[in-house]
């Protein structure tokens, strides 16, 4: 019994310690003046994290927009309200689906790669060699990746929304024959720039912070063995997905619920 309680206590201590380490890690990486070299490293990461994620994000966005239009149409047409299709597609994409799905895909596509890359750097002792020659790995390796993640996910979310709305137009207007004017008109009447688009962007910024932070920290903090790398990669995807979905509820309650 006592050993159980001790074990629980140790778990608790470990958890708090890890949270503290992660917080210190984030603070230390982000504070500091960006140098010319840093911008170059950041650009490199933007290319890998952002530009190369574009394909998966855009294709998923297109299909989600098309499915939304199809599903929405079959429900709305029963009430004779298929004119509200544009409104339904755009609001569900902007408020909910684009930030969340883009963040989940981002965690799978870019987050796991970040963890594996940094983890391998740690396992092959590249990080400690950097420290040895007086280069701070937090500044050189971690900071550019964090900043690249913060910038690219909101941009990817915008791409997701735009192509999703276009996909909805493709299915709703071109295929199912909803009147084009009502698709765009109802959308414009109901979408508010600050409340809907702005809050969606805010959500995706929070998700970007959380997902990139988890990915990079898991890579930096892992046990430097091949098993450790595979575990950390799995943890990145699991933790960031859970964090995104959980935070999404909290943020939605604050933004669109009666609490806000």
């Amino acid at each position: 019994m006592i050993t159980r309680i001790t074990r629980l206590g140790r778990r608790g201590c470990d958890l708090v310690e890890a949270l503290g380490r992660a917080g210190m890690f984030l603070g230390q990486s982000l504070v500091g003046r960006p140098s010319g070299e840093g911008v170059k490293l950041w650009l490199r990461q933007m290319h890998f994290i952002g530009v190369l994620s574009l394909a998966i994000i855009l294709v998923s966005g297109l299909f989600i927009g098309m499915v939304l239009a199809l599903q929405g149409y079959t429900i709305l047409v029963d009430f004779g309200a298929e004119d509200a299709l544009g409104q339904m597609v755009s609001l569900s994409l902007l408020r909910e689906l684009a930030p969340v799905v883009a963040a989940l895909l981002f965690a799978g596509r870019a987050g796991s790669a970040l963890t594996a890359e940094i983890g391998l750097m740690k396992a092959t002792e590249q990080l400690s060699s950097m420290e040895m020659i007086g280069v701070d790995p937090l500044k050189r390796v971690v900071a550019p990746r964090l900043w690249a993640g913060f910038v690219s996910l909101p941009l990817l979310t915008v791409g997701f929304s735009v192509i999703g709305i276009w996909g909805g137009h493709l299915v709703g207007v071109e295929w199912l024959g909803v009147y084009e004017g009502s698709y765009w008109g109802n959308m414009q009447a109901s979408v508010d720039f600050v409340d809907d688009i702005g809050n969606g962007m805010l959500k995706s910024l929070v998700f970007a912070l959380v997902v990139t932070w988890i990915a990079v920290f898991q890579g930096y903090d892992l046990v430097p063995t091949s098993e450790g790398i595979s575990r950390a990669t799995t943890r990145t995807v699991v933790y960031s997905s859970l964090a995104v979905l959980g935070l999404d509820f909290v943020l939605t309650a604050l933004m669109f619920g009666e609490m806000g």
Binding site: G50, V51, A81, P154, L155, G159, V162
Partner: protein
């Protein structure tokens, strides 16, 4: 070095696409118009019941959007709804004094908006004036009540 330039170009394109995306969302999806330079003037109108009219709703004339609802509040003197309309300033001094304002619904379940129609009075409404001839929103329950009452009479 060649590759790095290509990469920078790719990142630049990516960020540009993101910014263009936000502009598209702003203009085409949320229907935001750059009305910073567009002059407006205000008119007031009192309605007995505004139904589901909200601020930012359209104000139309012959179906053309000519302004937005700026504010909706309760008039504590008459206990009816006082609606402030912001109209395109090109219409200033053009609307006759007996212009009517009606709250209409686009489609069966659509948004509510205000429709203006001009009268024949030679005098015109100036900035801050009140439209006196108004028609309230159609409330479905009242309509049904009337219908049932008429049925009972027959």
């Amino acid at each position: 070095m060649k590759r790095s330039k290509m990469m920078e170009f790719g990142v630049g394109l990516f960020m540009l696409a993101g910014i263009l995306g936000v502009i598209f969302l702003g203009l085409s999806v949320s229907g935001m118009a750059f009305n910073g330079g567009k002059e407006t003037y205000t008119l007031q109108a009192n309605f007995a019941n505004i139904g589901g009219l909200k601020p930012r709703a359209r104000v139309t004339m012959a179906g053309v959007t000519v302004g937005r609802v700026e504010d909706v509040e309760l008039d504590t003197e008459w206990f009816d709804a006082r609606v402030t309309l912001a109209l395109d300033s090109r219409l200033e001094g053009q609307l006759s004094r007996d212009t009517t304002a009606a709250i209409l619904t686009s489609g069966l379940l659509g948004e509510q908006y205000i429709g203006l129609s001009v009268g024949g009075d030679p005098e015109t409404l100036a900035d801050g004036d009140t439209i006196s001839d108004t028609q309230s929103a159609l409330v479905l329950e009242e309509l049904i009540q009337q219908f049932v009452a008429n049925m009972a009479q027959d």
